[in-house]
């Protein structure tokens, strides 16, 4: 099996993460990268809930995972108003001294923990496309 999908609503995040984690482990990713994936996907799902599901009653998020040639691609998508990710890197110093809200780490963590990430709109859905390379020595160009 080289792909899997999950559809859920607010409250089913843990089930979704379990599903992604199991799939990644079956693809051969080490535990450290599986944990990175789970955190990145959790942040994408929380974003979908905050910006979509909580504003549109009864709506859901969807996760699609596919594994091919050493690359695991995970799409987290939801219907809703277009989400534009912040371009500014959060500043811990500004947050610690009260010049900025302590929140706003989700997109940053997604970028840091995945090998490649794209935020886009496809057919009325906000999609976060994340890629994770299994073996960077064997597939050096797969994250570009």
């Amino acid at each position: 099996m080289n792909n899997t999908s999950f559809e859920g609503q607010a409250g089913s995040e843990k089930e979704a993460l379990h599903c992604v984690g199991q799939f990644a482990a079956r693809c051969g990713f080490p535990e450290e990268r599986v944990l990175d994936m789970r955190t990145a996907v959790e942040e994408a799902v929380l974003n979908a809930i905050e910006h979509g599901l909580l504003r549109e009653r009864g709506s859901s998020f969807r996760i699609d995972c596919s594994f091919e040639k050493g690359v695991l691609e995970i799409h987290v998508s939801h219907r809703g108003a277009r989400f534009t990710p912040p371009e500014v890197v959060p500043d811990i110093h500004a947050k610690m001294d009260g010049r900025d809200s302590p929140r706003g780490w989700g997109v940053y963590l997604i970028h840091q923990l995945s090998d490649e990430v794209v935020f886009e709109e496809m057919e009325g859905r906000n999609v976060v496309r994340m890629r994770f390379v299994l073996d960077k020595e064997r597939y050096p160009n797969r994250s570009h």
Binding site: T39, L46, M96
Partner: protein, 113 residues
């Protein structure tokens, strides 16, 4: 998710367990207020290794650590799994807390109070 507190002289210990998310805010602020009545000079955030922390939980921790530092309290962090130590490092929180990576370091931190 649970937040248990313990007072040990001038040290306030917060034991954090479960999935730490936005829901951490209320119990954490209450725990902080309870600990603060004992006028601690140091705080120890002791995570149960199995706990998970998302970005909203991190925001709550930043608020608490920020407040503690403004009040001149030294903050130590113990029990984080390697994954969350990496997350703390990525966001820069390790510049603001003392990372205690083994029980010997925790013991020393507690004894120095």
């Amino acid at each position: 998710m649970t937040v248990d507190i313990e007072i040990n002289g001038k040290l306030g210990v917060f034991k954090l367990e479960g999935d730490l998310s936005a829901a951490l805010e209320e119990p954490m602020l209450k725990a902080y207020a309870d600990v603060d009545t004992h006028r601690p000079t140091k705080l120890l955030l002791r995570f149960v290794p199995e706990c998970t922390i998302n970005s909203a939980g991190i925001a709550v921790l930043i608020s608490v650590i920020s407040q503690a530092r403004r009040e001149g309290k030294h903050v130590g962090v113990a029990g984080l799994s390697p994954h969350y130590r990496k997350i703390f490092d990525l966001i820069g929180l390790t510049e603001y807390v003392e990372m205690l990576t083994d029980e010997e370091a925790v013991k020393t931190f507690m004894e120095e109070t």
